[in-house]
């Protein structure tokens, strides 16, 4: 018997989880489409683009929390833990529905929402143009998608960890963890920037893998200043982020292994 990972058992689990959850997923994705069409109608085409990163993380976290709920309360968790499958397979189900299936599906929903908005309400732009997207997207898809996916890769294991580690108030604790992490990350970045580039970079808003950052200064009546991020810091950002995200997945996995009811 394959004790680590059996594709047959994994497929059975995908079917089992899907059969019990497809309705809630359909509703969640339906709400997402309506929300994105509405936002793009109200805020314009660029609105949903800006919304993409934010919505992916929020929707992804909610869907991940829904998937990982099977690890939290007694009834769900005992049923999941007693299912004759390996821990790797059980863990992979969360990754499959919460990441492998979710990200492409969400991206399709994004393009579908944009297409609906533009064709029904703006009447002018073709799917080809949507695919090309606004400047930031066709300048560099990497610069657009990468930070979003990276951000999500950090948020998802936190959702998993919270569901496994805490028996009560998992969602609230998860939000608190995410906020704490970002505050910590913000100050770590600030110190790093200060030491490596001798630049003061308070109040900046930037993509973690981007080549520039923008920060707000109160000088001259308040204005945004953009500065270039040195290549070494870009690489360091990506490496640190990846290590941290991978570490969180490992911690969540180990915690799952030791999960007791």
């Amino acid at each position: 018997m394959n004790t680590k990972f059996s594709l047959k058992r994994f497929w059975q689990q995908i079917r089992f989880h899907g059969a019990g959850s497809w309705k809630s997923y359909t509703i969640a994705y339906g709400i997402l489409i309506i929300l994105m069409v509405y936002l793009s109608m109200v805020g314009g085409y660029k609105m949903i683009l800006a919304f993409y990163s934010f919505a992916l993380c929020i929707a992804g976290t909610l869907i991940s929390a829904r998937i990982f709920r099977s690890w939290s309360d007694f009834g769900n968790a005992s049923s999941t833990l007693m299912l004759p499958a390996s821990l790797t397979e059980k863990f992979s189900i969360g990754l499959f529905y919460g990441l492998v299936l979710f990200v492409p599906l969400f991206t399709c929903i994004y393009y579908f929402s944009a297409w609906i908005t533009l064709n029904i309400f703006d009447h002018a732009i073709s799917i080809k143009e949507i695919w090309r997207g606004p400047e930031s997207l066709h300048e560099s898809a990497y610069a657009f998608f990468m930070p979003t996916i990276m951000l999500f890769l950090l948020v998802q294991p936190i959702a998993l960890y919270s569901a496994v580690r805490f028996r009560k108030y998992q969602f609230q604790i998860m939000i608190l963890l995410i906020i704490s992490l970002f505050v910590g990350y913000y100050y770590a970045q600030h110190l790093l920037m200060l030491n490596l580039t001798k630049m003061l970079a308070f109040n900046y808003i930037y993509f973690v893998v981007g080549d520039h950052l923008t920060y707000f200064t109160a000088k001259n009546g308040g204005s945004y200043v953009t500065i270039m991020v040195p290549a070494i810091i870009q690489k360091l950002n990506i490496t640190m982020w990846m290590i941290f995200a991978a570490g969180m997945y490992v911690v969540a996995f180990l915690r799952l292994k030791e999960r007791e009811i």
């Binding site: 059975q12 059969a19 019990g20 499958a85 390996s86 009811i261």
Partner: protein, 283 residues
């Protein structure tokens, strides 16, 4: 075979639930696990299933270590908890999707059990009563044919005809290579099934004996009035008169009233255990 050695367990360090608990259980028996509320019946089942981990000591089910939750081990054990979780599908889909995880699952056995328990297979599991859910899971648990079957309060929520059907189904599903543990407060519902009694009390196993052995050492009598028989170890007032426990000096083992045994074991533990653990029945 289930082997538990020097098991210590606690939820809070200030209050130990099991202290140096030792237990051996052989296949081919139906064990009745009894104890007061909070004695640790469900916890013991969870430890044996790998849902909770011993703080100290060892637990083995054959060569399996439950806490490792090996897929092979999980295929060979079914725990039906008192609180049951079921996905939002009907019984037919449950079998189609859940049964492939259990190699010993018998569709025929499941159908027979469902018919016997008179359960509707079409309605979704979230739209049926607790009793109906329980029946479906009982039918499923029996049809899985796992070597270890642990049922926590299986008759809770079952109507009277279903309790009889459950007894008959469990008896027919039993075989020499299976170990069945029934944790229950409803001893009268399951009295006819149990062949070994396990009483948990004071952080340990107080009594772990076959009913035949208990019947050979203890005699259970009922009378309308309070018995004035010398040598009575314990008596209590039931709705059907007085029930008492006496030493059994007869050659043949008599029937065991598990409810009276349980009450007696809690009230006069020294007297009962002394008789059960001594070489010959003496006072």
């Amino acid at each position: 075979m289930i082997t538990i050695r020097n098991l210590d367990f606690w939820y809070s360090k200030h209050e130990s639930l099991f202290d140096d608990l030792n237990l051996d259980m052989q296949p081919g028996h139906i064990y009745g696990l009894l104890g007061k509320n909070g004695a640790g019946k469900t916890t013991l089942l969870k430890i044996m299933s790998g849902l909770s981990f011993p703080k100290r000591g060892e637990v083995f089910l054959d060569h399996w270590i439950p806490r490792q939750r090996h897929p092979g081990f999980l295929q060979d054990i079914f725990l039906l908890p008192e609180e049951i979780y079921l996905p939002l599908i009907n019984a037919e889909s449950l079998v189609r999707l859940y049964a492939p995880f259990y190699p010993g699952f018998s569709r025929e056995q499941f159908t027979r059990a469902m018919e016997c328990l008179e359960v509707n297979t079409v309605r979704k599991l979230n739209k049926i009563s607790y009793g109906q859910k329980k029946k479906i899971m009982i039918a499923f648990a029996l049809a899985c044919n796992t070597r270890y079957l642990f049922l926590d309060e299986p008759t809770n929520g079952l109507d009277i005809p279903s309790k009889a059907a459950f007894r008959s189904l469990l008896a027919s599903a039993f075989s020499e290579d299976r170990t069945i543990i029934l944790s229950t407060h409803q001893v009268r519902d399951l009295q006819s099934l149990i062949d070994h009694v396990l009483i948990l009390s004071g952080r340990r196993i107080m009594i772990h004996q076959s009913l035949d052995f208990i019947g050979s050492r203890l005699k259970f009598q009922r009378s309308v009035t309070r018995p004035e028989i010398p040598g009575v170890l314990f008596s209590w007032n039931t709705e059907m008169g007085h029930a008492c426990i006496l030493p059994n000096f007869d050659d043949e083992p008599g029937p065991v009233d598990i409810e009276t045994l349980f009450n007696g074991a809690l009230e006069v533990p020294e007297k009962i255990t002394h008789l059960l653990h001594s070489e010959i029945p003496v006072l």
